[in-house]
Every structure is written in structure tokens, then in C-alpha cells.
Amino acid sequence: MKVPYIDGFEAPILNVNVPLEEAAFRDGRIHTIWTHTKKAFDTMMRVFPDNVGQVTAPPPGYQPYITLKLDKPPLNDQRVRAALQHLIDINAIIEGIAEGLADPGLAHDYSFYGREFPWTLQELIQLGANMEYNPQKARQLLSAAGFDRGIGRPLKFMYGTGDPLIAEVYRAVANFWRQGGIEVVTDEVAITDIARFNAVFFGKQWGEIDAVGFAFAGPGTDEDQYCYGPLNSRSLRNFFWVNDPRLDDLTERQRRIFNIEERRQVAMEIVKRELSQSYRIWLITPYKMAVRRGVVFNVVDTIHAWHNIGWGSRGNQYVWFSSIP
């Protein structure tokens, strides 16, 4: 392909091969790199003097969260699900694992609600999320649901390990649950066994599995992707076992409304309903940290802002560094 100013593109796919990718960036064979950790970001920034760093809060298309088998006990009980959420210290995950470079997660497009940035933890709690770290409250909820210790049986939790940071988040969650007295059996799926993950998740062949860590919610250029898609019981994108008549009604209504303000109100009802019911366990949305060579100005920025035209572009760009801060 011939384009102005550059001779062409080369796009080798380095599938989860971090050593090769980092070596290639140092060598100058590739000009842009997505660094998964702050340490790697700092290191790569030092490689060339003209390096430019970009840290963005990604749109809600990619973030670790946990889906639950909602159609069988005990996870069909809202109190148990809320307890699972209350046992997780979101701030500790943000500070301890993402090194401060993350926001609380929620797979709804915050820019649709007129926001510049993702919701803060306090705002999500005000919207009705059970995201306050409160082990005492979790114990009370479990007790009210009839469980003196744990959830009465081991909780089987499956997640992929392809992204090192996201895998750490899931491991931390498993440990938070264990601290809360729940026996957790983890099933880590390597990237090479993605077929098994897909069969379980997309094929809904959960078997004995209770919870699946998932990281893709989109991408979508309209909030409908995050309302009807995952939350309507008839939607083919509802991999989440959500079957709530109230959500069915709201998610169908919001897609028939043309007035944006009116539609926002209905969509906000959906957000509140989902959060209060803890249908999914929300965690964090890690910032995307990328380093590029100065010579490729403006070529990769869109890609690193997740390549969603007209979406997320208003507020998701956080910080630019032309040198190490």
C-alpha cells in the first residue's frame, strides 16, 4: 500500500512474546510498543531519547471483570454476589497491582454519559454498586443467605493468563475471596488453550465452573453494545447468564429512543440495576501504557487509544510524557 510520507506498513504479529517484542523495540525493528506494566513502561521510555509515552484510560472494551453462573445456587442469590464484590478491595488492586495506573472498572461507555473520565469508585458506589471493600458486610450478607462459612462449597474460578497484569488481578481476587473464608479452586487457562476458554465462555459449557474471568466487553461505538448486548436475556452477546425481566425491558427501551438525553436516563437505569444486582463482578480498568518513537508521530496514537473512531476520544487521553516524569 502506498501512502503519503511513508513507504508502507509492516505489522508482524508477536503473539504474547514479550522478550522478542521488547528486544525488537530496542533494536528499532518496531516503533511502538504496548508495555503492560509501569516498570516496563519506564524501561522502554529510556531506550531512545526521542521516545514518547502515552498513558490512556481505555474505553470500556477491554478490562478484567468476572462473570458468574447466575442460574444456579448459590450465585443466583443477589446477597452472595454482593458479598463476593464486597470482599474485593478495588483500591488495593489499583495501587498494588496496577501501580496506580487504573480506574475502577465498569463496562459501560462513560463518554455516552457526558463524562470525560471513567467513574470513580465513590461514584460507582453512589450509583448502587456493591464495590465498597467491606468484609464485615460481606459476612453479614453470606450469613443472611444461609452460609456461616464461605458459600457452602468450593467456588470454581476460571480465567486466562494471556495478559500478565490481568492474570495478577484475577489471582488477587481469588485471594481476597479466600481471605473472606471462601474456598476457591482456580483454573488458569494458558493462551495456547484458548479453545477451551472459548468453548466454556462463548459456548456456555460451564459445567462445574462458577465464575469466569473475562476481559472483553466490546468494542462498541454505541452504549447499546454495553446495555442490550450483555444484559438482555435474548441477546446472543449475553454470555453472562443475565436473565432479568426488568433489564430486558430497559435494554429494549433504550434502543428505541432517539432523544439522547432521554436515552441516557434509561441507560443509566440499566447501569444502576446491573450494579445493584452484582450480575458481574467489577474490578479495574487498567490504563494503556504505550511508548512510541518520536518519528512515528500521530500514526499510532489512534491505535493506542483503541481505534474507536468517535468514541473515547473526548476524555480517554490522560497523560503524555516526552520524558520520564
Binding site: 509492516e10 508482524p12 508477536l14 512474546n17 522478550p19 522478542l20 521488547e22 528486544a23 525488537a24 523495540f25 530496542r26 533494536d27 528499532g28 525493528r29 518496531i30 493462551i191 495456547t192 488453550d193 484458548i194 479453545a195 477451551r196 476458554f197 472459548n198 468453548a199 466454556v200 462463548f202 459456548g203 456456555k204 459449557q205 446472543l236 452477546r237 454470555f239
Partner: protein
């Protein structure tokens, strides 16, 4: 000898057949199939069934296997479930030279390093050089290929700002670019093997040096160089030559990791990709080719053994 070759040939074909059955069964025991990987979404059940039928995944296992096997016998390895129905053989044909070249470089490196170090180590027994040579071998035996490869990539980048090319060129298209992509993985793989060669060379040289004819050579007043080259090396390298065949078998397996690490589009890379995507035809094809390579190597080793040691072929005849 002809009878011996025939017996080994039949056994080799049987092994390949059994390998293909086991591979087929093992991959089908895994959760998920090519369709679940391909779709990554839910579709109405009737559409899923239609797609499954289109890929032939709805038929009984034995029928799928038989179809594949009869295709193989006609020289057709089938088509990939991914990559727009590309013939499996086309993909393998492109990958095979990469793996063979990597294996070849690794074996050359292993001999080029292992044999001289082994000889020096044996000739200067218990000296500083010997100690160094043995340390070299112990490290080579202890360090796994994937670790060594990762270290080489990481520190090659940090210390020398070097990484292998990310796009691959065949030797006949661009020899320099090809060798630039191949030398580092070949060295990593070869070092691992050279440690074994060094150990075998050392013990073999030591053994030969104790033989009467070597003592006679020394007694004749020959210089050390002449004794080593004319009387010791030739006889002590027989075990090394035979072990090279076994090393070929090992290297073919190790290429899966090295090709993935260094981004080389060889048979190992294709095998790994086909397993993760449950591309049954491609996987069966690659495993068959790897199986044939390994069995063929073993077959040649057997012939070599029989050639070098007549007791083996005579024993085979006597027992029959």
C-alpha cells in the same frame, strides 16, 4: 540386511499410524473445537450446527479420522479450518524448510562446539581446561532451551540493542536476512545439544586413549597431534555420529519452543498454532510430518547402527 531393513520399515509405518491415531484422539478429548475458536461469539443454534456440518465436525470421530487417513493415502492432507481453506500441504511445504534449516544449523553448531571442547577436555584431563569444559557441559545440560532463548532475547536487546528480524526470508530469496534470523536460534538450540556431544566425545576419547593401539602409537614416538588425529579421533567419533541421529529427534521437538520464541514460521510454530486453534487438519498434518521425520531419522539410525556394528543385523536375522 534387506530383511532387517524391511522389518524396520514396517515397524516405522506402524509407529506413524499409531501416532496419527493418538494425536487425533488426544486433540478431540480437549474441550472446544475449531468452530468455538473461530466464532468467539454466540450464534443461533441452527447456524452453529450448519457451520459445524460445513467443517465436517458433526460426523462421528472414526468417520472424520477415516476421511483424513484416506486423504493422506491419496496424498491429500486436507484443508485448514482457518486461513481461508488453505491446503494443509501448502502451509507445511512453506514451514518445512525453516525447521530443517534450523535443525541443520543446530546440529552443525552442536558438533562444532561439542567435539573440540570434548577432545580438549579429554586430552587435558583434570586440567583447568577440562574443568571449564565440564562446567560448560553441565550448564548446557541444565539450562532449558526456553530459558536460554528468553535470556538471549532479553539481554541481546538490553546490552547490544539487537533482536532477530521479525519478518522471515527464505535462504534462496535473501540469504543474509535468512541467516540473520537463523543464527541466534540455531546457536541456542545447538548449545544445548553441544553439551551432550561434549560429554560423549570426552568419555569416548578417554576410552580410546586407553586402547593398546594408541599406547603403541605413543611408543613409536609419534607426536601428540599425530596420535590424536590418526588414531584417536576417528574411532572415538563413532558414538558421536550415532548420537547425532538421536539428537535430530530431540531437536525436532525442541523447535516448537525455539520457533515460537524467535518467531520463525517453521513446523513447530505451525503445530503450536494449530493446537491452540484446534485446526484439526493442520495439526494432524504437522504431527504426521514431524512423526515421519522422527521415524525416518530413527530408521536411518538403525541402519547406521547395523552398518557400524554387524552384530545388530546378524542378531536380528538370528532371532528371526
Amino acid at each position: 540386511m534387506a530383511r532387517y531393513i524391511m522389518r524396520r520399515g514396517i515397524a516405522s509405518i506402524l509407529v506413524i499410524f499409531l501416532v496419527s491415531i493418538f494425536t487425533f484422539l488426544l486433540i478431540h478429548l480437549q474441550t472446544g473445537d475449531a468452530l468455538t475458536v473461530k466464532l468467539r461469539q454466540r450464534l443461533p443454534e441452527e447456524q452453529v450446527q450448519a457451520l459445524r456440518a460445513q467443517l465436517g465436525l458433526d460426523r462421528p470421530l472414526w468417520e472424520q479420522y477415516w476421511d483424513w487417513l484416506s486423504g493422506v493415502l491419496r496424498g491429500d492432507l486436507g484443508r485448514s479450518f482457518f486461513r481461508e481453506q488453505e491446503p494443509v500441504w501448502t502451509r507445511i511445504k512453506a514451514a518445512l524448510p525453516v525447521t530443517m534449516e534450523l535443525v541443520g544449523i543446530a546440529l552443525v553448531v552442536s558438533v562444532a562446539i561439542g567435539v573440540p571442547v570434548g577432545v580438549v577436555s579429554a586430552v587435558r584431563r583434570n586440567s583447568f581446561l577440562d574443568q571449564m569444559g565440564r562446567l560448560f557441559a553441565v550448564i548446557g545440560l541444565a539450562v532449558p532451551v526456553f530459558w536460554l532463548g528468553t535470556v538471549v532475547l532479553t539481554y541481546g536487546g538490553i546490552w547490544f540493542q539487537y533482536s532477530p528480524p521479525l519478518t522471515f526470508s527464505y535462504f534462496w530469496d535473501d540469504p543474509l536476512s535468512n541467516l540473520e534470523a537463523m543464527w541466534l536460534p540455531g546457536l541456542v538450540l545447538g548449545y544445548n545439544l553441544s553439551a551432550i556431544n561434549m560429554r560423549i566425545t570426552r568419555s569416548s576419547v578417554l576410552e580410546v586413549m586407553r586402547q593398546d593401539y594408541v599406547r603403541t602409537a605413543w611408543a613409536k614416538g609419534l607426536r601428540e597431534r599425530a596420535v590424536l588425529v590418526r588414531h584417536v579421533l576417528g574411532n572415538s567419533l563413532i558414538p558421536v555420529v550415532t548420537i547425532l541421529g538421536n539428537q535430530f529427534v530431540y531437536v525436532v521437538g525442541a523447535t516448537v519452543i525455539v520457533e515460537f520464541l524467535f518467531h520463525l514460521p517453521g513446523i513447530g510454530f505451525v503445530a503450536l498454532e494449530s493446537i491452540s486453534t484446534r485446526d484439526y487438519n493442520l495439526m494432524q498434518g504437522t504431527v504426521l510430518v514431524i512423526g515421519v521425520m522422527v521415524v525416518l531419522a530413527n530408521f536411518l539410525i538403525d541402519l547406521l547402527y547395523a552398518r557400524l556394528d554387524p552384530r545388530i543385523r546378524l542378531g536380528a536375522v538370528a532371532s528371526s
